[in-house]
Amino acid sequence: MRVVRGIALAIVLVSASACIDATRVNDTCTWSDPVAGALDRRRSRDRDHLRQDAQIAWELSVRYSDTRYRHAPALARPLRRECRQAVEDTIRARHAVTAQDIRTATVSREWWIDVVAVFLPMLGLAVVGTDALMRRARGAFDGERRVRMLVATLLLVAAIALAVAGVTQYWAMIVESIRLRDEHVADRGTVLPSAVHAGLTMGVSFLVCLVPAMARFRRREPRGSALKL
């Protein structure tokens, strides 16, 4: 229980440390930036600043439309576009960057945060869940041939991996909403690494679930020995 609490606390701290700058967000689409002057994309600090600017521009547009048409996407969309365009024009003029630079910054991520706050906890859950499920499922396989057992195990692992990949998407959105200090993630869900690389998320989940499943499978002594193969 202490370990779980520790992990939960670490996730909250990591998410909180990577939160959007609260002093720069508002619902009136007003831009504020303490840094002026051209940004050099070769410098990591400048790239980070542009990434933050792009993130704030997106957040401003969401908040601006949400305060007016939170439940009317057709009306909210033009407002969001208008606000974002105005803010991005300001960023371009202020930092001497191109529209392509802003687009690149919009989809760039701080990978270590996604890994620590999203993927590691979910993969840990996958290992623990698969192991617990395989331990309980052992009884159901009693007396079955080894090949059938293997096929059943693989199907079960695929189903668990699919569930893990699905839960990962929503956990990623929850973490993102904590980071943005906004419960409405909106279309930013489409740039989350778990959504951009959905196939990879599923594949990794399958492999991670396969390890404890195979360990249980090998540890098990089937009735009737290897002759049943």
Partner: protein, 120 residues
């Protein structure tokens, strides 16, 4: 068993209404044919869960098997949507994934314990 059956009916009904609502909203917003098709399959899965719940409630023959198949199908469909097209709400998705797991675990424990209602 009765409580679980009623819960299955409620979750099935909620998921059916929610996915139909999402399908209608998607069609109005022009979400695309692939997404509409996926949502139609989700409606089917939710209806199947509802049917499984009704079967458990009225204790028909093979009620546990019907409910088990419905739960497995529902789990695969909702987990698949969550993994590859996460446009359903968090509550609807987690319920669509979590409840079938709970139902399958319940049915498995019930059949392992030799409960007559589940094995019929």
């Amino acid at each position: 068993m009765k409580a679980m059956a009623m819960l299955t009916v409620l979750v099935g009904a909620f998921e059916t209404l929610n996915t139909i609502g999402e399908l209608r909203a998607g069609l109005q917003a022009g979400r695309g044919e692939a997404a509409s098709l996926v949502l139609a399959v989700a409606v089917l899965a939710a209806l199947l869960l509802l049917a499984g719940g009704v079967a458990l409630l009225v204790r028909t023959r093979n009620a546990a098997r019907v409910a088990g198949i419905a739960a497995a199908f529902c789990l695969l469909v909702f987990a698949g949507i969550a993994a590859f097209l996460p446009f359903l709400s968090i509550a609807a998705s987690l319920l669509g994934i979590g409840f079938p797991i709970a139902l399958m675990a319940f049915l498995y424990r019930d059949s392992a314990g030799g409960h007559p209602a589940a094995t019929r």
